[in-house]
């Protein structure tokens, strides 16, 4: 085996993949073509690599359909519209509560004592609600097991 043949023999191995993928220079392509015509083993290797590439290209390595990814996009749209819905709902409820509060406070038909009692009841409920929400928020931030998957 002369030096040129040895060089061809050393390099044609991975060049076969480059040849199949169309990633070689013109000179390299000629080298591989000539070598594979003469060398049965490399010729077979080239055919095998081409067949393998075609097989993988036609294979189905994911069972998901395009609809799955379309749903992912829709999901984001749904989330946005839901957020807008909640925002409008909460803003409306705050406005209604404000109107009721003002009407209640400036209603002369209700005595001061009754106003105080009702204010204490609803005020207490609001404080309790705030307390629970605050506790939940703290737990959510500090719970080290929150990401544990069961």
């Amino acid at each position: 085996m002369n030096n040129e043949d040895r060089l061809i023999d050393q390099h044609v191995g991975e060049l076969i993949s480059g040849f199949v993928d169309g990633e070689l220079t013109q000179q390299q392509r000629q080298l591989v073509s000539l070598h594979c015509e003469q060398c049965t083993q490399c010729g077979e290797n080239l055919e095998d690599m081409q067949a393998l590439r075609t097989r993988i290209g036609k294979a189905n390595l994911s069972e998901m359909g395009e609809d799955k990814w379309r749903e992912t996009m829709d999901e984001k749209g749904v989330q946005t519209s839901r957020s807008i819905g909640w925002l409008l709902f909460i803003a409306g409820m705050v406005a209604v509560a404000g109107v009721i509060l003002i009407t209640f406070l400036f209603n002369d038909e209700i005595g001061t004592g009754m106003k105080f009692i009702l204010a204490a009841v609803y005020g207490g409920l609001l404080v309790l609600l705030y307390s629970v929400l605050r506790q939940r928020m703290i737990e959510r931030k500090t719970d080290k097991y929150k990401d544990v998957e069961i």
Binding site: G18, M49, L52, R55, N60, L61, S62, E63, T72
Partner: protein
């Protein structure tokens, strides 16, 4: 790129990205989550993609691959090497889910290392160029051909063993 065009392209890229993520994460459900997260992330900041730097496909595959690496690191947050961690291939259930007719191919793929599975999917399944693969895998372009060739030889050997 218009967001609507990007959405359309991402829908088409979803399956390929899922195949890549499956090879990295070892199961189809985690892979679907990874692709979902990647899509949400991309659509949240569509300006992060610059069309002047190349097509969306390799860029998106890199986002998916990075997301998979994050998930793998979360599974084992002890600083172990990512390439060692993602050695797990899809198990029998995952193999069955993917496709009965390609079961032999999937089984043979599962015998390869994660890096070999990834490079085969990137080139032969997703049809990316060596330059794009080098960018996604953060390796030199000259390394792609030799790694790919070794991976194909290993796959051929495994297929011969199973068929």
């Amino acid at each position: 790129m218009k967001k609507s065009d990007m959405k359309q392209q991402l829908i088409q890229l979803g399956n390929g990205a899922h195949a890549l993520a499956t090879q990295m994460l070892g199961n189809t459900d985690d892979a679907a989550d990874a692709v979902h997260d990647a899509i949400v992330k991309v659509l949240k900041k569509p300006d992060a993609y610059n069309a002047n730097n190349g097509p969306l496909k390799p860029w998106f595959m890199r986002v998916v691959r990075n997301r998979c690496i994050d998930l793998i690191r979360r599974r084992r947050p002890d600083g172990a090497d990512v390439n060692e961690l993602c050695e797990s291939a899809p198990g029998p259930a995952g193999v069955l889910e993917i496709a009965q007719r390609d079961q032999a191919l999937q089984l043979a793929l599962s015998k390869l290392s994660s890096a070999q599975r990834q490079i085969i999917v990137l080139r032969d399944y997703l049809d990316l160029s060596y330059a794009e693969i080098a960018e996604i895998q953060e390796i030199a372009q000259g390394t792609v051909m030799s790694r790919l060739h070794r991976a194909r030889l290993a796959l051929k050997m495994e297929l011969n063993r199973h068929e």
